[in-house]
Subunit: 491 residues, 2 copies
């Protein structure tokens, strides 16, 4: 039996040549979309903007490789420290605190896969004339929802990282896991426009060539070949990141936003880690309460999405006439982000419908706004679900119920002030998980999640190598299945 | 979609009404077998014998419940301690040593599910007249290959247990996991003969009634219902143990010997833990070397087995004429166990063919004998495979190659003295994992393995409860698949 037979998908989820699920406040014209590259560039382009003034700078380094020592001004506020020391209930379990450090080797990737991507992105927007820059500290990673790749890279090269869950080792022989730090989500959107030939707008940059080049580079690495990549970690937060090679790196741990475009034999809850998006609006700094939250329900975003996101138009139709509901087809801009912040900070509930894929950054915007998320996305997967019980901070409504006229608002209005405060209190307990710059925040938790994959990775590495040739009619898979009778709604 | 739709097996493994896979040196007559109970009793009966003189005694306790404080004279020899402190290479990884304790609550089961099983077993053999005994210290758990259930129970009730990987808690509210200590493997063989009506030979004991009774008891427990059993741990080492109710407790962590008779939606490497059998022959205490190992290959056991075990007869045919091979159709007795010890201690290689199920105690007998196992069992799963690389201590041969005339002996003879010493050295490093009485041995490792299931258990508990009703055509499963091109043989 050959490789392909044994890994045939049981529950196919097709990698669709469709637009990115990247959440955007921009109207995207409905039109035929010819390729993943084209459409992704078109859509994600709208999402991006450089952060106003970033405090994140780099130190000079070997211009051809991305390894360097760097101190990031990460937030080490007393808030995060106190959360660490007081153990916020079940959210920071004894299990995770006792979890020992796993040794990670970060590949010294050719520069083009890290800083080079940032440079190409800047060049394509006229922000840089000469590349490579002599001083990488002049480069800024553009702020956007898929910036996890930047935070993990930055974390591993920090000199003062504490390494609670993973320690970085410089000798690959010592490593338990290998981190491949290619900025795959940024690479996808380097080219700002949709050119006719599918290549960069005169920039000469091609994400697909980058992916192929990464693959070629990896295949020359001794440690890649050693365990067929099972002990390698890749980040591909944009649903189309690494799309060309994901089937060739699927043995590894994939850090993803959801499984919307990944087949079940490519990615799974057992093997991979669900990452939150970086929130795009300001965290709410006020106290819990409903007095300043006059709106019942808030949503701002693109009305027209594909796949599961088709529900958005239906939700608009039934919600836009409701008096205390704000539902807007928004466009991305500094102004609209300000409006979204204001809306989320002054509403009791924030709608989170599926986009082109089940997840979106809006959920995390809502959580840091203490605006109770109302999730209408039947296939959604949620980050860090072993330590976060999302029923405590969000309301789940199945799509079929949500689109019944009157259903949503009628039921949301029934929810008492006390119950809302309870949701808000619970949200406060977990906001740190969604703050990438918190010392005890997202990055730390991602490494903990990655660490916990190690026993099964080691088991599978050992087992793969001693398996003998067998006659099998099905793939040899170990599974964990959901077998609850599901709820239809939150009531 | 109902429960049954969503959990339909992808790779059916049928729970066959066949004989137990329990390894035995007894000739079992080939005959029609009518029920799991009958055949299991018949086969496993032959395996059992009381240990000569056991040092394992109990203290008096509430006669109706099995909770008690007890000190077991477990082996805390310098050998095991030195292995702990020196960290035997990758076999005791940094990961596992740093793994924090998980809180386990052991149910205070009605006495009949623990000491009561031992009593019934003794009564059925004329060893006890009055039950329940006043003093449980007069009871002895009969020694046999499935005694893991006894060791785990004994470990949790020890006063001086160190709790490196799990700590026992007395308040279920604090617990991460719930241990159900029913002696399911012993229960299966309480009745020593095969009666006509499928029930006990006048003992009134029925394993199936016990299983149903356990289920009834569990279903009244608040913590069983709370998470639908996902955080419950069951031991069912005999392939037929819990056969009647295993589909009702499959959400939990199952401690099993292999997956031979469990469907892939009931048990998996991801959810469950593979346990070693307790070895039945004496550990080899000598040094490594081949000088005193004149035989090339040794096997003693039942020639006729079902399923994958059919290969045994073929192996007998091609091996019994070889001069330096000892292959015997043995009968269980004190004498034959002595002969098996002698044979394994004086052979270079020990054959481990599949039995009725893929695993058997013979593998662990071979390891503690420093006799290099030659595994001919294509579907075998191996205990603790994240920390033990079995290629270093055993030779794997696919069934198709193994039965080619001349193949096995020709290739085994080619293996150099140096290579055999290497195998033996590696075996020495891992024997502690197969010593149930070693403080740092099997029991400790089982708890470590159980601990590592916790993050996925917690994730699935949280996720199950927030899932909304979805239209699905396939079960909602997360899988880890093998996708190596397999080896055909060891050469």
């Amino acid at each position: 039996m050959n490789l392909n037979d044994r890994t045939k998908p049981r529950k196919p989820r097709v990698l669709l040549p469709s637009s990115s699920s990247s959440e955007t406040l921009t109207p995207v014209p409905k039109m035929a979309r010819k390729s993943i590259l084209k459409s992704t560039v078109a859509t994600v382009l709208c999402v991006f903007g450089l952060y106003g003034l970033s405090t994140t700078f780099f130190n000079p380094i070997n211009p051809y490789h991305s390894r360097l020592d760097l101190s990031l001004p990460l937030d080490s506020s007393s808030k995060s420290l106190s959360l660490l020391s007081t153990d916020s209930g079940e959210n920071l379990s004894k299990f995770s605190r006792n979890f020992g450090p796993v040794k990670v080797y970060m590949y010294d990737l050719p520069r083009k896969f890290t800083y080079g991507v940032i440079e190409s992105y800047a060049v394509a927007r006229g922000g840089l004339e000469k590349v490579p820059v002599d001083d990488v500290s002049s480069l800024k990673y553009p702020g956007h929802q898929h910036s996890g790749e930047w935070y993990l890279f930055s974390d591993l090269i920090r000199e003062d990282r504490d390494g609670r869950y993973v320690v970085r080792v410089s000798d690959p022989e010592e490593a338990d896991l290998f981190y491949v730090s290619f900025f795959s989500s940024l690479s996808l959107v380097v080219n700002p426009i949709r050119p006719a030939n599918g290549e960069g707008a005169g920039t000469g940059y091609s994400d697909e060539e980058m992916q192929e080049s990464l693959m070629e580079w990896l295949e020359q690495q001794e440690y890649w070949k050693r365990n067929n990549g099972r002990d390698h970690v890749f980040i591909c937060q944009d649903p189309n990141a690494l799309h060309l090679i994901v089937d060739r790196v699927k043995n590894g741990v994939l850090l993803v936003s959801d499984f919307g475009r990944l087949r079940s034999d490519t990615a799974s809850l057992v093997k991979d880690v669900i990452l939150p998006y970086a929130h795009r609006i300001k965290s709410y700094s006020g106290k819990i309460g409903v007095e300043n939250r006059k709106s019942l329900l808030f949503f701002m975003g693109n009305r027209y999405r594909k796949e599961g996101g088709k529900i958005r138009d239906l939700l608009f139709q039934i919600l836009e006439q409701e008096e205390d509901v704000i539902i807007k087809h928004g466009a991305q801009s500094r102004e609209s982000r300000r409006m979204a912040s204001q809306g989320m900070h002054s509403s009791k509930f924030c709608l989170h419908p599926a986009g082109d894929t089940p997840s979106a950054c809006r959920l995390f915007d809502a959580i840091v706004s203490l605006c109770v998320p109302v999730i209408v996305s039947d296939q959604i997967e949620l980050p860090f679900e072993d330590v976060i019980d999302y029923r405590k901070i969000a309301i789940f409504v199945d799509s079929a119920s949500a689109v019944k006229p009157g259903f949503l608002v009628k039921n949301l209005r029934k929810i008492t002030r006390e119950r809302i405060l309870e949701y808000q209190r619970e949200m406060q307990e977990v906001t740190r998980y969604f703050e990438f710059e918190d010392t005890n925040g997202t990055v730390s938790e991602i490494w903990r999640q990655v660490s916990m994959k190690l026993p099964l990775i080691k088991l599978m590495i050992n087992r793969d190598k001693r398996l003998v040739k067998r006659e099998m009619t099905e793939p040899d898979c170990s599974c964990l299945c959901s077998n609850q009778s599901e709820i239809r709604t939150f009531l």
